[in-house]
Symmetry: C2
Amino acid sequence: MLTERKRQILRAIIDDYVVHAEPVGSNYLVNKYKLGVSSATVRNEMSELEELGYLEKPHTSAGRVPSDKGYRAYIDLLLDLKPVSQTDQDKIESFFNNHMTEITTLVRQSASALSEQTNFPSLVISPRYSDTSLEQIKLLMIEPGKALVVVVLSPGIVKDRMIRIPHEIKQEDLHLISKIIEEKLSGQKLDQITLITISAAAEDVPVPESLLNQVLFEAYVSIKQAENIELYIEGTHRLFNHPEFQELALAKSFLDTMHQEGIVAGYMSEWESMNAELELTETNNPEEIEQVERTRREQPYLKENPSYMVRIGQEITLKGLEECSFITAAYKITNKITGRIGVIGPRRMEYGKIISQINFINYTLDQQIMELASGYDRKEDINGKEKEEQA
Amino acid sequence: MLTERKRQILRAIIDDYVVHAEPVGSNYLVNKYKLGVSSATVRNEMSELEELGYLEKPHTSAGRVPSDKGYRAYIDLLLDLKPVSQTDQDKIESFFNNHMTEITTLVRQSASALSEQTNFPSLVISPRYSDTSLEQIKLLMIEPGKALVVVVLSPGIVKDRMIRIPHEIKQEDLHLISKIIEEKLSGQKLDQITLITISAAAEDVPVPESLLNQVLFEAYVSIKQAENIELYIEGTHRLFNHPEFQELALAKSFLDTMHQEGIVAGYMSEWESMNAELELTETNNPEEIEQVERTRREQPYLKENPSYMVRIGQEITLKGLEECSFITAAYKITNKITGRIGVIGPRRMEYGKIISQINFINYTLDQQIMELASGYDRKEDINGKEKEEQA
DNA sequence: TTTTGGCACTCTGGGTTAACGAGTGCTAAA
DNA sequence: TTTAGCACTCGTTAACCCAGAGTGCCAAAA
């Protein structure tokens, strides 16, 4: 039903529209893209494409614009992933250059890079840590009545939190408590740890129960807090560089939705769970498989099983974002623990370019995380390097 | 030169304009505010007020709008600080209700409250910690090759940071290192601590020098990082609720400036240093002193020496913010260590209301910080309270 | 000297009309 | 099946007018 010529025309329309943001007409199209047929023919084709639901008319005497379905077809059938230019690669890598030592910073930095590269707002969501296990828990006395809880999860994630404790608790008590509960709890999955487990673990600590309970409760809260999914949004102001958000009403509803903490996070994490199945459906077309094969050889950052996902317009079920597109990819902390990174913008996006950027950034991020996890020793003489680093 | 009647008219114009955002004319004014004179008289007065620079005309046949100088006079001479309504007080206090345990969360929460209350973007800037002193420094082994540095500053501020360390370094080494440098350095002002001081402090630690140096360097960086001034901006999307930002160009230049991390932070911290002198100049008028006296008795959160500061339009020397006003107040961590909290918005603001809100929030914040610093023991039975807390 | 009514003048904003141009859809011929 | 031709639609822009709001100034009144 989608003849080769129809595809060609659809591709040309989308390629043009995403750049110029204006409905494209038949005449313009044949001239610019040398289609080798007359505008009347193109008109007929366009009319059929419209009937099939791939195109829409803003009004009678305008050209056509892609519909959700049109974009969807473009992405599934016509997408041409451009390799990331060397300068872009350099720019992105420079974002990671100042040896960061925490995964969260690494991930946020990626989001910044992504937003800057694409000129759209970007977002990252942390993995669900509930089925990772607790590795360490330390209680550090800061001053009488105050302590720092440090929770270390198995993939090397560190979270900490200040707590209040009874003044009677001494440094040694804390040390003892954390040592004992760490011994008993380490290795357990986070979502199996409850207040009861902890209390049981600390049963025979020689500290008055009422005091002990306060500390245990705070420790418990700290562990639960470490499970929290975190959402981070970067560069919302870049939205205004795009004509569709000149209309204040749209921009406002967008920003309002994005600023309702829970909503986007909820949506994305729910999404993350459906992840696996959906990804598979993306590669069921011989043509596309061949293409994937080819790029895999040429650009390692375009991974074999493309981990990106695109949601267009009405496919997004969040109120206020019906006119937008999400493009996200999964980043790995371990093979089983993944978060998502992506951009959000108007449906009119240069999907090819942007997906390449995301893939590349995601690839770089994965590498950095791996490097971080494996750890390494710096070979250089620190004193010699010091001046450079401060400059 | 500003007769009583001129003041009255200026006040009426500003009061009206800040609410309705439309140039106000002579007829409207006499009707609405029952000035007891004819519109012709008001016209003459307005004309003179314009000559004096307090008013401006958008064009010949429009009414008048206040100029920067007009707003300035309003704030210095005519300001009427309204008490914060009980419902507002309750709303603000509810932002602080979930016993937060870290100053930074407290401060950010205040910014959220402020933005929500005023419907403008709010911002907070952390104090300069360079002349506070180091109280503790701990090195916590996370796994071979990775450690957590915890830096505690004298007013109870805690900052931490993951670092990489040589694999050869053992838990005990770390413990020893941190113990020794803490002993030697604690009590020193942050800006007096250098890499040299630290190296000297750790001179006789029995760890091979090349390994030790790496750790010391990272410790040093962590301390320096603790000095960093942090800026936090909240609620920028609220800008679009105000008519002056319907013009995309304005909104864009605003957002762009705000998102250039360094700029606003630099401006505000520079400002903070001029703080003391400027505040004094605000109270040199018998009338105002009397007013301050009165409100001090009635609302404790309107402090005796009002700590708020207002910068209007051209008074702000940041590019892109010439059409805006800053209102900020200093919050105290200790008597000597202060940060700033405030809002930024169009010049057309209800200064009276907003300043009251800031004062109140600032007052509440100060109280919370004090309470945090003093620490307290919870009297309640934790187990009894637990269910409520989770709900 | 100050205030006021009256009046001419200025400028904006809304509404109407007309011309224009881009693009379509249809028909009939190639 | 493709294409040239043409009528038709609709949005955009500019020109124009008019009403309304507000000013500035003058001369008379307080």
